[in-house]
């Protein structure tokens, strides 16, 4: 069976998923893998920093509370580095408080989502970020087209 063209194209797109909770990495990473993306996982903020620098992914999905370096510090350091400043990040948080806009402006965070989240909406937000940065093309600029391509995955192209 042949993979549809969109899935084959996705394979060249790397996504770093950083969370100290293995089950979150499995759920989030699993979703992107099933859509054909290449996923690299990090267990803490420092590891994520190294991975983003070495892998130059198209997207970083990161938790806020992680050992050694939290998601906010991570995304601030990445924003300060010219090479990684343009990598968009999606931050997941289980904290009750809301991060102030000025704290986010010095980071690469483009979107914040609260836990518990729906994996489908997370994927939708992620594809929107990928489309905005031009990593993936969306015909007619529509997310639903992309979702449809995911839905027919597995059929012969």
């Amino acid at each position: 069976m042949q993979l549809p063209s969109s899935t084959v194209q996705n394979a060249s797109i790397r996504i770093v998923v950083a969370d100290d909770e293995a089950h979150i990495r499995l759920v989030v990473g699993g979703k992107f893998r099933s859509e054909g993306f290449t996923v690299v996982e990090a267990r803490d903020g420092e590891e994520a920093l190294e991975l983003v620098r070495s892998q130059m992914p198209s997207l970083l999905v990161t938790d806020l509370q992680m050992p050694y370096m939290n998601g906010l510090e991570l995304c601030t350091q990445l924003a300060a580095d010219l090479r990684t400043a343009s990598v968009p990040a999606l931050l997941l948080t289980a904290r009750g408080h809301i991060l102030e806009a000025d704290r986010l402006s010095a980071t690469i965070i483009k979107k914040v989502m609260s836990k518990p989240f729906s994996v489908k909406s997370l994927f939708e937000q992620a594809t929107m970020l990928l489309a905005q940065s031009g990593a993936i093309g969306l015909s007619k600029g529509s997310i639903s087209d992309l979702r449809a391509s995911g839905a027919v995955k597995g059929e012969a192209a």
Binding site: D20, E21, A22, H23, I24, L26, R43, D44, E46, E47, L64, Q65, M66, P67, Y68, N70, L72, T93, A94, R95, G96, H97, I98, L99, E100, A101, R103, V112, S114, K115, P116
Partner: protein, 561 residues
């Protein structure tokens, strides 16, 4: 996500890396397996500091813990920490130390040291000299070691390779266990949340008991999220049915703050949020109340419930149990949903009560206008309604069922609208035709009411309130228990009120005479089981109704008190 927020962000706590939590467990597993292979086990950090000693007892244990052996181990570890690939080393002739690296985040953090004995070690000088220095029994030690002193340099290498694979596998297993534990925790929490939401959805259908719904909701949210207390506050402006006209606080659990403090704190917070242009529906997280920091660094999560564009109620939670007393996004999402439920419930409940009041008001207006046709029967329907309800309760019917009986009593004479006024208020004896006209009123009433939705269950009461227990009544001449219960209940109340009031054809009878008559009619006209219950009823409210109705009547008409 809203950016408005009335609380300081606080710091972001750093979780303990899961791998550290699992390191001890991994060592224990390795040691148990090595023991089975006849290997002694140490756990050391990079500098050679011993973190765990071998667990052997007796001569072997004393020998392994002697300073000579300890120095061998420490030296070996220091040597290994300088090597990229630490190699098996011979501690003394016929005794080898096998290194198993411990790494954390790709960095070497220490070693598990395995000591293997070969046959040659038993004949060497080291054991004899050490035993001499430590005053140990060399013969006993050698005897204890003989069975396990089978290692050779070659078997040490094979054992090391096998153990390294096992360590790798154990690491994978530990990781899977950690993942499974995470999933299990998440799944359990999800079940709790789903169960809560399902339960709330189900209990929303009973609109008649807002207090019960809200209290239950508080208890359930507290239980699910692990807060010390959850409460719902409704302002007096709310004017919600079933709640009093003053502010109300429904509490599940015991707040560490006093109720008055809590209430004033909430009012302050809502007012402040409103003054600061805070969105009405946006949550508020309080770290202090009335200027005082909350105990133990805990927080209060306050979610306004907006109704008609105003935050007229709020659900809040505080004193969260567990390691982290701070409010999480999980708590917020659930409380937002709960607030939505309560808002919808209060709206529906208010609408329902309004509709119910309008419906009953309409029925009362209708029956009053009929009673007014005959000046002798003013207030009759209301009194019969009251007595039927009381009798229904005395007969063991539920509050809801008795309320339906009350409504049936209220409308039982609606059919009189189809009977000429001259007949209804005729002073003398009725002719056969006139009596036939009167006897039509149950059926006329039934016809009038039968198309009104939700009145089906009271129709039998209207149609059959003039049946007699002995079967000589009308319209159908039903007998005994064939007469619907509602009809039998109303019949007694109706008879009692008729005898107790002055009618166009006779004066009111005294209470005692009426009650004697009721008992006399038991079995013939009235249900013999209900009549004894009726005569024992409390007539205080009835008498008050009589007095009120008499006040609006001409003086000549009096009820016997």
């Amino acid at each position: 996500m809203s950016t408005s927020q009335v609380a300081q962000s606080g710091t972001i706590p750093t979780p303990l890396p899961a791998s550290q939590r699992f390191a001890h467990a991994a060592f224990d597993r390795l040691r148990d397996r090595c023991h089975g292979l006849g290997l002694s086990t140490w756990r050391c950090d990079n500098t050679g500091l011993v973190l765990r000693e071998p667990e052997e007892v007796g001569p072997v244990g004393l020998f392994l813990q002697s300073p000579v052996i300890l120095k061998f181990i420490t030296d070996a570890v220091r040597e290994w920490s300088l090597q990229d690939e630490p190699a098996i080393c011979e501690l003394f002739r016929g005794c080898w130390a096998i290194p198993i690296e411990e790494t954390h985040r790709h960095r070497r953090t220490g070693f598990t040291v395995l000591v293997a004995f070969g046959a040659e070690s038993l004949d060497g000088r080291t054991i004899v000299e050490t035993c001499g220095a430590e005053q140990l029994d060399a013969v006993g030690l050698k005897r204890s070691l003989t069975a396990r002193a089978t290692y050779t340099p070659h078997s040490c290498r094979l054992t090391r390779d096998a153990l390294l694979w096992m360590v790798q596998d154990l690491g994978t297993i530990a990781e899977h266990e950690q993942t499974t534990a995470g999933f299990t925790r998440q799944l359990t929490d999800s079940y709790e949340t789903i169960d809560l939401l399902y339960g709330l959805g189900r209990s929303m259908s009973d609109l008649t008991q807002p207090t019960k719904f809200i209290t239950r909701m508080c208890e359930r949210v507290k239980f699910t999220l692990g807060f010390g207390w959850v409460s719902v506050w409704t302002s007096a402006d709310e004017r919600s049915p079933g709640t009093s006209t003053s502010d109300r606080l429904y509490i599940g659990g015991e707040p560490s703050t006093s109720q008055t403090d809590l209430e004033s704190g909430i009012r302050d917070a809502l007012a402040r949020a409103s003054a600061e242009g805070h969105q009405d529906s946006a949550r508020i997280i309080l770290s202090e109340l009335n200027g005082k920091l909350l105990p133990g660094g805990s927080q209060i999560l306050l979610q306004p419930i907006v109704r008609g564009g105003r935050p007229l109620a709020a659900i809040m939670a505080g004193d969260k149990a567990g390691d982290d007393p701070q409010v999480s996004s999980y708590d917020i999402q659930l409380l937002e949903a709960a607030a939505g439920f309560i808002g919808a419930f209060l709206d529906n409940s208010a609408l329902y009560a309004e509709q119910q009041a309008m419906f009953l008001g309409t029925l009362e207006a209708l029956t009053s206008s009929i009673d007014a046709k005959d000046r002798y029967t003013c207030g009759h329907s209301e009194r019969v309604a009251h007595l039927s309800q009381q009798l229904a309760l005395a007969a063991g019917l539920s509050t809801e069922q008795a309320e339906r009986v009350r409504i049936a009593g209220l409308v039982h004479d609606v059919g009189k609208i189809g009977v000429p006024e001259a007949v209804l208020s005729k002073a003398g004896k009725l002719t056969d035709e006139e009596f036939a006209a009167i006897k039509l009123h149950p059926e006329i009433g039934h016809r009038i009411l039968k198309d009104i939705p939700k009145l089906d269950d009271i129709l039998p009461g209207v149609l059959h309130h003039h049946e007699r227990y002995d079967g000589r009544g009308y319209p159908h001449g039903l007998k005994g228990d064939d007469i619907p219960l509602c009809g039998r209940l109303i019949a007694i109340a109706d008879t009692f009120d008729a005898m107790s009031s002055t009618r166009s054809y006779r004066s009111a009878l005294p209470r005692a005479a009426v009650l004697t008559e009721i008992q006399k009619c038991a079995g013939s006209q009235l249900d013999p089981r209900l009549a004894p219950l009726f005569v024992k009823l409390d007539f205080t409210i009835y008498d008050r109704m009589v007095a009120q109705h008499a006040a609006v009547q001409p003086g000549e008409l009096r009820h016997a008190a």
